[in-house]
Symmetry: C2
Subunit: 451 residues, 2 copies
């Protein structure tokens, strides 16, 4: 459907039918308008953006890429800029300013009133990924001595500029958060009830500090099914709120970070297609180097046992399979444990429960793999039966060791306040490879050489 609409818009643009375009765009969802605009060259984008109704323009702005936002701001007169900034929500303005060069920031700030400027400056100073850096200050604040009718009247007057009106925040004269009031309670209550009597008291309210990590904010929102979370300073004064749309973005950001770390890619905040080649290479090379160097240890092991390997037929051929199976077994376990830790399903306290579980799972998987492998070797192989038994014994040990290390390292990392996500497949593989070979060569030395 969108495709068809986009095609129609392209045709209109081709023929300079701007009035018709404006009519269609005005009826579209702001997200789709942004998507359409991004398909245009910058010049055309600026042209079309200007014909959008003022409100829609402000709604579309946050959904544009930073470079397009910057182009718009740079093309705007000071007067147009003032109107735009005034219509944007504060968190979207701050998000934008965090990404653009200093001269653009200065120009935007020069076109805001003194109060907004000081708020933006304060918000810009909160550390990256902290609650302060993602919050907005456009929330409904109510004093607790109002009646329900007065509160609703208050919302009607001020609500249009608020990012959400569905949760109202009750504050005392010094702006301390003393309770929250979902709009639902307000609407359903009798008009003459006092706000104080129906609000949720502050000790029941989930709130975060400005410096709370965004990951923790997302975890609380998920746990308590919240639409918004209030942000308070150290004296419990309300300074902002974080809304669910931003929390959903954080959840996806944190997941992406975990995916990247688990593949030993240095996490990057920019989208793949927008990241330069050198940046992409830089994000990957460090871990590749570290793992390559540590991989040489495995090579030295093979070197050391070269004599035995050339002596016993059929020993070398199983090395890749043993290493792969060990790595894969460990990677499976590590992934499940890392994910369990991230979701809070598993805690450090559960270690022994997890270990015992993994050892049993490893025993089952290891036995099946060893038996299947034994069958395969007997059917297709052409070496001594003893070699096969050693291979399968090593296979079983490798799986048990891999799954043990695969559940231990992530939990150990968590215990040491390191990120468990680093202890995933590639890291586990490197360790398991070396140990698997040691087991293999050890078993081979004992059972194959002395006969």
């Amino acid at each position: 459907m969108e495709e068809i609409k986009f095609q129609e818009l392209f045709d209109l643009l081709e023929n300079n039918h701007f009035a018709k375009m404006k009519a269609i765009l005005s009826e579209m969802n702001e997200v789709d308008v942004a998507e359409f605009l991004q398909e245009l060259e910058t010049e055309k984008l600026l042209l079309i953006y200007r014909i959008l109704p003022k409100d829609l323009a402000a709604d579309v702005f946050p959904y544009l890429e930073t470079e397009n936002q910057q182009a718009i701001v740079e093309g705007y007169t000071d007067k147009e800029l003032r109107v735009l900034i005034d219509d944007l929500f504060l968190d979207d303005t701050v998000d934008f300013l965090e990404e653009v060069p200093a001269n653009v920031v200065r120009r935007v700030l020069a076109n805001t009133d003194a109060e907004t400027r000081s708020t933006i400056n304060r918000f810009l100073q909160y550390p990256d990924n902290s609650a302060g850096s993602i919050m907005t200050n456009e929330m409904v604040e109510l004093h607790d001595n109002l009646t329900v009718n007065q509160a609703i009247e208050n919302i009607r007057k001020t609500g249009v500029d608020k990012e959400t009106i569905y949760t109202c925040y009750c504050i005392d004269p010094s702006r301390h958060l003393i309770g929250i009031l979902p709009l639902k309670s307000l609407i359903l209550a009798d008009g003459n009830t006092c706000v104080r009597d129906i609000m949720d008291d502050v000790d029941q309210v989930i709130s975060v500090k400005t410096h709370t990590d965004q990951e923790e904010v997302a975890a609380l929102a998920k746990k308590y099914d919240l639409l918004t979370i209030p942000v308070v300073d150290n004296e419990n004064r309300l300074v902002g709120i974080i809304t669910i749309d931003d929390i959903v973005d954080i959840i996806e950001e944190e997941n992406t970070e975990d995916f990247e770390k688990m593949a030993l890619v240095h996490p990057s905040e920019s989208e793949y297609l927008k990241t330069g080649v050198f940046k992409l290479a830089k994000n990957r090379i460090l871990w590749l180097l570290i793992l390559m160097i540590s991989g040489t240890f495995t090579g030295q092991l093979i070197d050391k046992f070269q004599g035995m390997l050339s002596l016993v037929v059929g020993l070398t051929a199983s090395i890749p399979m043993l290493m792969d199976t060990g790595g894969n077994s460990g990677g499976q376990t590590a992934t499940l444990i890392i994910r369990g830790l991230a979701l809070g399903d598993i805690t450090v306290k559960d270690y022994f429960k997890v270990l015992w579980k993994e050892i049993r799972v490893a025993a089952i998987c290891g036995s099946i793999l060893a038996v299947v492998n034994l069958g395969r070797l007997f059917i297709f192989g052409h070496a001594d039966a003893k070699v096969y038994l050693v291979t399968c014994g090593a296979m079983f040990c490798a799986v048990v060791f891999a799954k043990t290390i695969g559940c231990t390292l992530p939990i150990l990392a968590k215990l040491c306040k390191l990120d468990p996500a680093l202890m995933a497949g590639p890291m586990i593989t490197t360790i398991v490879d070396a140990v698997t070979l040691m087991i293999y060569f050890g078993l081979a030395s004992v059972f194959l050489l002395h006969n």
Copy 2:
């Protein structure tokens, strides 16, 4: 803080101070109450659950584990059960019924009125992971000829039983969805305006069908920053809504599924600690077997070149390092591409852009790795310089091949409507291993054997 509160509650329970417990629990958040209850043995849990105020009990219920929910239902009289089911939201009841044995389902259904029973039965029939299976039918429905004041009056009367009142749905007499109306618009509008004039028309409304996959529902909610999504049947009649708290759960579920698939673990819907050992082993063994068998191909390669390996000193020792580095390089790329595809940042159309990017990244990473490795070999090695050059050449080729295959396979999978997540590290490693060895042995045969 919770820990302290929990300790206090445990002490009170120990001393049978139920009145005091009830007072404390009544002031707590339902999620925390559920967390506390789960720490108790079933018998104690039932005891304490019964002393909760009726409303809180219904709020707590959805946050309990299925086995505890079942214990409560089994311990309840028919009368108590009727009250509980009546207070639960329909989607929570359906979630519960999807998990419990048929006799529990029958008993619950026997204690609901005919209309609810028929609705529940219909909802239970929607396929797993479809929009129909996660929706609720407790939404605010408005006719479009009401005035704003009438609509608010309507919400005040019926809102208490609705899962959300923040988005209202405008329907015609045959229940066709004709528009939606955020409560914010309703509150901010003049009381005598007609609902029809301020609602968002249906062609601007994002909705899904009952059979839409939940992954798609979550993607829409993320893209358009929605708090709820209406679900309609094939004739565009409103049948339910999906709320953001369920969407957040879906997002995490889908991410977990991707993590599992990428580690080649068969996705499971139950939490790790609650999954039995045999089930865990079953979820992992298939892929381990497949990869083990395909790993034998690599072994056969080594077997075939055994002669050369024993002839040329220093050749075997680099095999693990080459295989690891190839696997890791490919895994990094595959992870970034799979994630980009999942988030919609990358589409199949971007393939050649991605490929060209990855080839350049591979050239940079491959060169650095080869040079570092060369340096290491010259300093610590004791073989012929030609062997080192062949090793480093193979290293470079392996990285380029790995990154090529790492970006190609996930996009190819997407193109073939397969799940790209399967084409992650472990799968890539198996393919890259074999090819890396072929390159290595090929180069070695050409440059080392004929001298």
